[in-house]
């Protein structure tokens, strides 16, 4: 290989990698605090047309706290909290409340089981 051509190729490659890294590094997330600190109010996930209003809801807790949230849905489905493997049915136009201790650390999905639609992301920090 011509050594100048190789240098140019490597230079261009380096710039490409640097650009990718820049895009990547922009995705910084701040420190998360516990959802249960937020004034004692139980968070509500509203499901309209089978999708969570305002996108997938972030719920963050510390291990040992109680996880509490309510789901109000305009469609009937089964709500499944993965990892904890909790399931509750919700009627169309009805609501259902979850209340359980945060015993397993990690990141979990809560979804409308029948639709395969994620409605919340549950994070339990140690």
């Amino acid at each position: 290989m011509n050594s100048n051509a190789a240098k140019v190729a490597l230079g261009v490659g380096t710039i490409a990698v640097a650009i990718v890294l820049l895009v990547v590094l922009k995705n910084d997330s701040g420190e998360s605090t516990s959802t249960s600190d937020a004034g004692g109010k139980v968070p509500v996930i509203v499901v309209e047309h089978g999708k969570p209003v305002g996108g997938v809801k972030d719920l963050t807790y510390n291990a040992g706290e109680r996880v509490r949230f309510e789901v109000r849905s305009d469609v009937s489905d089964e709500i499944h909290v993965h990892g904890y493997d909790l399931m509750k049915d919700v009627e169309a136009g009805g609501s259902v409340e979850f209340d359980f201790p945060a015993t397993i650390e990690g990141v979990f999905e809560a979804e409308l089981e029948g639709r395969g639609e994620q409605i919340a992301q549950l994070t339990v920090n140690p």
């Binding site: 490597l10 380096t14 895009v23 995705n27 493997d85 015993t103 029948g114």
Partner: protein, 465 residues
């Protein structure tokens, strides 16, 4: 199938928490300190170029490598592959309740990598395609009275087919079967179909080029697990089982062309999987939106944007390595660029293994509980079978605390880093007669290793963010 389930489930019900900032800082600091320490205590004569092979007792070789064991292992391999394909095609469409996905993508893909490092190349006896190929070859020899004639495998192609196959395999798992909020999921029957197609392709290639030749160069899993087996201290040489210096066998691994691509593909695919829901998420979403706006279907847009990032990963990892090699080639007395490029490829194997452990350790621990409880008792996920009385057991996600996972992840990356540095320094002392030039060349590899290790730590620190 008795009930319908959506196929949007990922196998993973519990995802890892990102490692906290303080641990990231500690991990990165340890890596830097270890690296500079390594430079200062560096040895001057190569120590790993000679494997220091010592055969084990002849009885052990006879027992473990004899024909009965070969036949038994081959039969087990063929049965399990066949059963996985059957379960995938005939069992439930729910990925987490079907034997096929967990067995192929977790138990085998991760298990063989791990056990290859500990016990040597254990995939080789269980390789179902090799077993079938050898059986057919043996039968041919018996009937025709001569050994089957094969085409000459083009030497320049080397391990490239395995590198491409490795990318394709992981693509199938994490891109085609991605669960990025849009209902795309690798269904068990797709996995079974892919396994069938791969079997046909592999057997055809074995017929064309010979069983052992294809296992050495083109068969994805033989090459991949074989690569990791080079790190450990057990191996087979001339039909005898033996022990060797750990890491030392890797020094002769990359003599086949295309080996660089295999180890780069290994690092790239693992990083991509770790990054797609974390570090790369925003980028993937941007490309996805751009493609969807351009009129592509949502599924096609998601797969295409993820594919672009996976290939970028491959190019990025490859470029970082080639830059390091380029840098080394400027040091006085350096061998040719091509010799350096393949000569240092094996130093990335420990990094590739460390990435694998860091990203999949918890998945492996969780899914193996499923594998040996409900997936074993009810492999088709029908809900009506209970072969061993464990069908109603579940996964205990509390066996690993978040802290335990973090420490394993960071420890894996740091140990992999040290092993990689060790091999690179050792190779440099073999390539450069002058000790000082060898040490100078290693500033470049040091930079490459620090880049990979810190990138690995970074990926862990933004996992699923």
């Amino acid at each position: 199938m008795t009930f319908w389930l959506p196929i949007a489930h990922a196998l993973v019900a519990r995802k890892d928490l990102p490692i906290p900032a303080w641990l990231f800082a500690w991990g990165a600091s340890i890596v830097l300190i270890v690296s500079f320490f390594a430079l200062s205590i560096a040895w001057r004569q190569p120590r790993f170029e000679d494997e220091r092979w010592r055969p084990l007792a002849p009885g052990a070789s006879r027992a473990l490598l004899g024909l009965p064991v070969q036949l038994l292992c081959g039969a087990i391999g063929v049965f399990l592959l066949g059963f996985s394909i059957y379960a995938g095609l005939d069992g439930t469409a729910a990925p987490d309740r079907n034997f096929a996905l967990t067995f192929l993508f977790v138990t085998c893909w991760l298990g063989f990598a791990l056990f290859s490092v500990i016990f040597g190349d254990v995939f080789r006896p269980f390789n179902p395609w090799r077993a079938v190929g050898r059986l057919v070859g043996g039968a041919f020899t018996l009937v025709a009275g001569q050994r089957p004639a094969h085409l000459r495998y083009p030497a320049r192609l080397g391990r490239w087919p395995a590198a491409v196959g490795l990318l394709a395999f992981v693509w199938l798992e994490v891109v085609y079967g991605a669960n990025g909020g849009v209902a795309v999921g690798l269904s068990p029957d797709t996995a079974a179909l892919a396994a069938l197609l791969y079997s046909l392709y592999t057997l055809a290639m074995m017929a064309a080029f010979g069983v052992e030749e294809w296992c050495r160069t083109g068969e994805v899993f033989s090459v991949y697990f074989g690569m990791f087996s080079r790190l450990g201290s057990f191996g087979v040489k001339e039909g005898r089982l033996g022990r060797r210096l750990p890491l030392a066998s890797s020094t002769s691994w990359a003599t086949v062309p295309g080996s660089v691509a295999v180890v780069v593909a290994s690092i790239a695919t693992t990083s991509f999987d770790g990054a797609q829901e974390g570090a790369f998420k925003n980028g993937i979403v941007k490309v996805f939106e751009w493609l969807a706006d351009a009129g592509l279907s949502l599924t096609a847009s998601l797969r295409l944007s993820a594919t672009v990032f996976m290939l970028l990963c491959f190019a990025g990892v490859g470029l970082v390595y080639l830059l390091g090699v380029r840098g080394m080639s400027t040091v006085g007395g350096a061998p040719s660029f091509a010799k350096l490029r393949s000569g240092f490829a094996h130093t990335l194997i420990p990094i590739a293994f460390a990435y694998l452990v860091a990203h999949y350790f918890s998945l492996f621990v969780f899914q193996e509980q499923a594998q040996f409880t409900f997936l074993l008792s009810d492999p088709l996920g029908t809900g009506t079978t209970d072969l061993f009385g464990t069908a109603s057991s579940g996964i205990d996600f509390q066996v690993l605390s978040a802290n335990a996972i973090w420490y394993v992840q960071v420890a894996a990356l740091v140990i992999g880093h040290v092993a990689g540095l060790t091999l690179a320094h050792d190779r440099a002392t073999a390539y450069w007669g002058d000790y000082r030039q060898a040490a100078r060349s290693q500033y470049w590899m040091l930079a490459v290793m620090v880049a990979f290790t810190c990138f690995g730590l970074y990926l862990l620190s933004v996992a699923n963010a």
